[in-house]
Symmetry: C2
Subunit: 531 residues, 2 copies
C-alpha cells in the first residue's frame, strides 16, 4: 500500500568510517585499527571503503602503504580521499594530488566546494577558478586511470543560497568524468522533504548522484533514505554513525532500512545477519561502545521491559517487533528490572535455559531482584550475576568457595610485580587458602590473589580473563562518600560474561563483581552443575 | 525555495519521558526524580507532561499523589496515562479507569488498540468490542470532565494490515470526544514517506491527529516531522530520546527542528535557549548521560576537530554550523586532540581566555598534547587538565604543592571512618604536610588526605567537591594488567571542572586526576594567578 521504490541497476554503499567517521570527538584510529576495521567493513559487504586522506595526514599515508601489502578485500574497493587542486596551480603539479595518486587505489573521491560563499570566503578564490579546479582535478585523475567520485561539499546550503552555481559544480564534475557526484549536507541542517526536492531538481542536470548526510537535525538516516527515494544511486555513511559533531548517517541503519523495508538486495542476507556482530566488533576497536538504543544492532534494540509487552510477547514475538532480530544478527531480550513482573523473570530464565514455571518461586526471585536493584545493583547488563541469583533460587547454586577476608595495599612505590599487593583468605573445598597477589592496581592484585587461591582446586580458572570493567558513582553530589557500582566483563575461549557489584567504594564493589565472575565461570565449566 | 509548512493555530508538545521514556533499559525513576524532571519539562515549555500510569504501577500512583501537593507548573498541563476499559465491563466499573480518574489530572491519555491482529491475539476480544471499549472509555472520561487524548497503538502497522479497521478506531475515538487521536508507530518500523501518506489519508476521517514515533529505523524524529508536515497538531516524544528498545522521538530535537527550521513558535526563544541545560539536567537525574553526538544538545554537537574546518571557522563560524548554538544553549567547541593542528590549540586557548599567538609556543604545546594522548590521556573532555598544560607552557602555571609519596590501604574490615586509609606526604609552601585520610574506598581516603594536607595553606579547598569519576580500561584484552584512564569531575559553588589521569592502575590514574583537580581549583580561585 505504501510505496517502495524500485532497486536501481547499480547501487553503491560507500563507507567513510575511516575518514569522516574518524573526525568524531574521542576517536583515534591507528593504522592497525584501520586495517582491522576495513576487513570488517568488507565482511559487511559495502561497495567502497574510504581509507583516509593520503598526503594530508601521515597516519593515512601509512595506512594506504600498509593496505597495499596487507589488505585483501573480498567485496569492497578501497578508495582514497582528497580535495580539488589548489587555486592557481595545475592538478599534475599539486603535491596533494600526487599523494592521492601515490596511494595506489583504483578509486578516489575528491571534495569540491559547491557553496559560493565557501569558495570566496574559505577557499579565497573565484567561482570560475573553483569550477576549473574541479574540471582539472577530475580530468587529470581520470586520465591517470582512476575512477573518480566528487563530494560536493555544502551542496544543500549552497543550492539554497545560489542554485545556479551549485548546479554548475555538479555539471562540471559530471562532464569532467566523475562517476557520481555526491551531494553533501556538510553542516547537517537539512530535513527529508528538502533533501528530496533538491535531489530531484539536481537530477535534471544528468549523471549519477550520491548522498552524504550528517545528523545535526536528527535526520541523517531519513535524509539519506529521502535522497534514495528521489533517485541517488550512491549512499555514504559510517558504521555506528561516527563522525564530527552529531555524526554521519549510520550506514548499518541505512543498509538495513533499504534491505528490510524496501526489499532491496543491498548486501547479501548472510552479510546483513553479521551486522550486529560487525557493529560491536568495530566498537571494540574504536573503543566507543555501540549505543544501547542504536537501531538494529544496539543491545536494547529488541529488548522488552514493559509488563504489558512482555505478556504479549509470550503470545507472539512478531506482535512487538518491526523485524525479526536474527535478520541483523541481534536477539530479542527480556529485561530483568525492578519494573519487571514475574513474566519477564520467567522469560529471562527460559532464555538462560532454566525452567522457572513455579509461580511462587518466580515471585520470590522477582522480589529479590527488585530489592537488590533498590540497593543499586543493575542486572540488565549483568546476566551472569542474575543467573547466580536464579541458580540460588532454584537450589542449584553452589558457592565453590567461601571468602574469609581480603585486603589490598596500593602506593606510588613499585614492589616486585607491581604497585599493589592483595591478600585473600578463602575456604576452598574444606582447605584454607591464603594467597598474595601483586599487580598493577588493586583490582589486578585482587584478581591475581583470587586466581591463585582457586587454581589448585579449580584448574579451569586458568582460562578466565578479566577484559574490562566500568565504574559508576550512583548517587552523585556527595563526593567520594557514595555508593559505587562496578560492572566487570570476563571471558574464556568460549564465552564472555558480565557481573555486577555494589558497595561504598570501588574496591568493595569490584571485589563482589570479581567473586561473582569466578563463581559464574566455575558454574558454567563444571559439567555436573551447568544448566 | 524549499518548503516550510504554516504553523497551525493550536500545536501540542506532549512529553512522555516519565511514562514511555521510563521503559528504557537501565532507567529507573523515583517519585522524587519524576517531580524534578516534570519541573524541568515545564521549564522547557512543553504543553503536556505525561506523568505515568496510575493504578498500574504503585510508583506512578504515588507520583500523582505527590504532584497534587508539590508540583506547581508554569506552562505545562500534567496528564495521566491509562488504557481503554477491560473487555466485557463498563468504564465506570473498571478499577484502572477509576485509578485514572483518581489521579486528579484535567487531562488523560488512553491507549487503544488500532491493529486488528493485536485486538484478537493480545487483547483476546472482538473487533467490535474493542471499538465499544474505546467509545465507552472516552465518553465516560469526557463526561467526568476530562480532556481526553487517545493513543492509537500500532496504528501504522494496523493501517497497512487492515486500513478500514484502523480508520474505524480513529473515527470512534474522535466521535466519542477525543481531543486528538495520536497515531502511534509502536514497533517503530515506519519510514517518513509512509508516515506522511498514512497521516494524510487518516486526516480525511476528520478531527485532530497526533504522532508518536519510535526510533527502530533511525527515523523517529524524521517520522515526527513528516507527520507534522502532513498535518498533525500534536507531537509526542521524550527528552534525550529515552524509551524502550531504540527509544522514542527525541522531543528536544523535534522542538528545535520545528522552531529553527520551520520558524514555528513552538516554545519561547528563551525556553529553547535552556534546551541544552535541561537535557543535561534531566540526564543528571536519570543517570543516563546525554549522548555526545545528540543533536543540538550533545557535548560534541558543535565541536570541531578537523584542521580543515578549524581554519575555516577562524574566518567565519557560521560557515560550518547549521544554527547558532546559543539558540539551544549550546556552545561551539574547538577540540584538542592528536588530530589537532596548532590552529585548534590556539582557538581552544582563546576560548579559555589565554593568548597563544606565539606560533612556536603553540606548536610545542601541540606536540606535548599529541605525546600525552599517545600515552592514553584524553583532553577532549578534560578541559581543566588541558588548561594546566597550557598554563605551564605559558609560564603562568604554579604547582601550589609538591607530592612526595602516597599510599592507600583497603580491606573488608571497617576502621574508624571507613574501610580505606590513605597517607599523603606533600610539600606545601615550604612545609612538610603528612596527613592521613580514612574513608569509603581508596579514592575517598586519598581525597580526604589530600584535602587535609592542603586546607591549612589553602582554606579555599573546603569548597571543592568531587562529584563523579569514570574509569576506562584503554587497551582491552589484557586482563587487569593494562592502562587505565580516569576522568574526575569536581565542583565548587561557581563551576565544575574535569581532569584526566592515566596509569597502570585505577588508583594511580585517579590520584593524578585528583592532584590536577586541586591544582586547577587553586589556580582558578587564586586571584593573582587566574587568567
Amino acid at each position: 500500500m505504501t510505496g517502495t521504490p524500485a532497486f536501481p541497476g547499480t547501487f553503491h554503499v560507500y563507507d567513510t568510517t575511516l575518514r569522516d567517521g574518524a573526525q568524531q570527538e574521542g576517536l583515534r584510529l591507528t593504522v592497525s585499527d584501520k586495517l582491522k576495521i576495513a576487513r570488517m567493513l568488507d565482511h559487511l559487504g559495502v561497495t567502497f571503503i574510504e581509507g583516509g586522506w593520503p598526503g594530508a595526514n601521515p597516519n593515512d599515508t601509512a595506512f594506504f602503504e600498509a593496505a597495499r601489502s596487507e589488505l585483501k578485500l573480498r567485496n569492497a574497493t578501497l578508495t582514497a580521499f582528497g580535495a580539488t587542486r589548489h587555486a592557481g596551480t595545475l592538478a599534475g603539479e599539486d603535491p596533494l594530488i600526487q599523494a592521492l595518486v601515490d596511494a595506489g587505489t583504483d578509486v578516489v573521491c575528491i571534495v569540491a566546494k559547491a557553496h559560493d560563499v565557501h569558495v570566496e570566503r574559505a577557499l579565497h578564490t573565484s567561482l570560475n577558478e573553483n569550477l576549473e579546479m574541479i574540471n582539472d582535478t577530475v580530468s587529470y585523475l581520470t586520465r591517470r586511470g582512476k575512477r573518480v567520485f566528487v563530494d560536493a561539499e555544502h551542496y544543500f546550503d549552497g543550492y539554497q543560497h545560489n542554485r545556479g552555481y551549485a548546479l554548475d559544480v555538479v555539471r562540471t564534475a559530471a562532464e569532467a568524468g566523475a562517476e557520481a557526484v555526491v551531494l553533501c549536507d556538510t553542516n547537517g541542517g537539512m530535513l527529508p522533504t528538502w533533501v528530496a526536492q533538491i535531489v530531484q531538481e539536481t537530477l535534471e542536470v544528468g549523471g549519477d548522484l550520491g548522498i552524504h548526510c550528517h545528523n545535526d537535525t536528527g535526520c541523517a538516516v531519513a535524509n539519506t533514505i529521502a535522497a534514495v527515494e528521489a533517485g541517488v544511486m550512491h549512499v555514504q555513511g559510517t558504521v555506528n554513525g561516527h563522525g564530527e559533531r552529531t555524526g554521519n548517517a549510520d550506514l548499518i541503519t541505512v543498509i538495513a532500512d533499504l534491505q528490510l523495508k524496501f526489499g532491496w538486495p543491498v548486501v547479501t542476507d548472510v552479510d546483513l545477519a553479521e551486522a550486529t556482530h560487525i557493529a560491536h566488533g568495530i566498537a571494540d576497536i574504536t573503543n566507543v561502545p555501540v549505543g544501547g538504543r542504536q537501531p538494529y544492532v544496539g543491545q536494547s534494540a529488541f529488548a522488552h521491559k514493559a509488563g504489558l509487552h512482555a505478556s504479549a510477547i509470550k503470545v507472539d514475538p512478531t506482535l512487538y517487533q518491526h523485524i525479526d532480530p536474527s535478520l541483523v544478527g541481534n536477539n530479542i531480550r527480556m529485561l530483568v528490572s525492578d519494573m519487571s513482573g514475574s513474566a519477564n523473570i520467567q522469560l529471562k530464565a527460559a532464555e538462560l535455559g532454566y525452567d522457572l514455571a513455579d509461580r511462587e518461586l518466580a515471585a520470590r526471585l522477582t522480589d529479590k531482584v527488585k530489592a537488590r536493584e533498590a540497593e543499586g545493583y543493575s542486572f540488565e547488563s549483568a546476566d551472569a550475576s542474575f543467573e547466580l541469583l536464579l541458580r540460588d533460587a532454584l537450589g542449584v547454586g553452589e558457592p565453590f568457595f567461601k571468602v574469609l577476608t581480603w585486603r589490598v595495599f596500593t602506593s606510588d612505590q613499585d614492589g616486585f610485580e607491581g604497585d599493589s599487593e592483595a591478600v585473600v583468605r578463602l575456604e576452598v573445598k574444606g582447605d584454607l587458602e591464603a594467597l598474595v597477589g601483586e599487580g598493577h592496581g588493586p583490582l589486578n592484585a585482587l584478581d591475581l590473589a583470587l586466581h591463585r587461591a582457586l587454581v589448585h582446586a579449580y584448574p579451569v580458572v586458568d582460562g578466565f580473563e578479566l577484559t574490562d570493567y566500568r565504574v559508576r558513582i550512583l548517587d552523585q553530589g556527595h563526593g567520594t562518600d557514595t555508593i559505587v557500582r562496578t560492572l566487570i566483563d570476563f571471558s574464556d575461549n568460549e564465552r564472555t560474561w558480565t557481573t555486577v557489584g555494589v558497595g561504598t567504594n570501588v574496591i568493595e564493589a569490584s571485589w563482589e563483581a570479581l567473586v561473582d565472575a569466578y563463581r559464574w565461570g566455575l558454574a558454567k565449566t563444571s559439567t555436573t552443575l551447568s544448566a
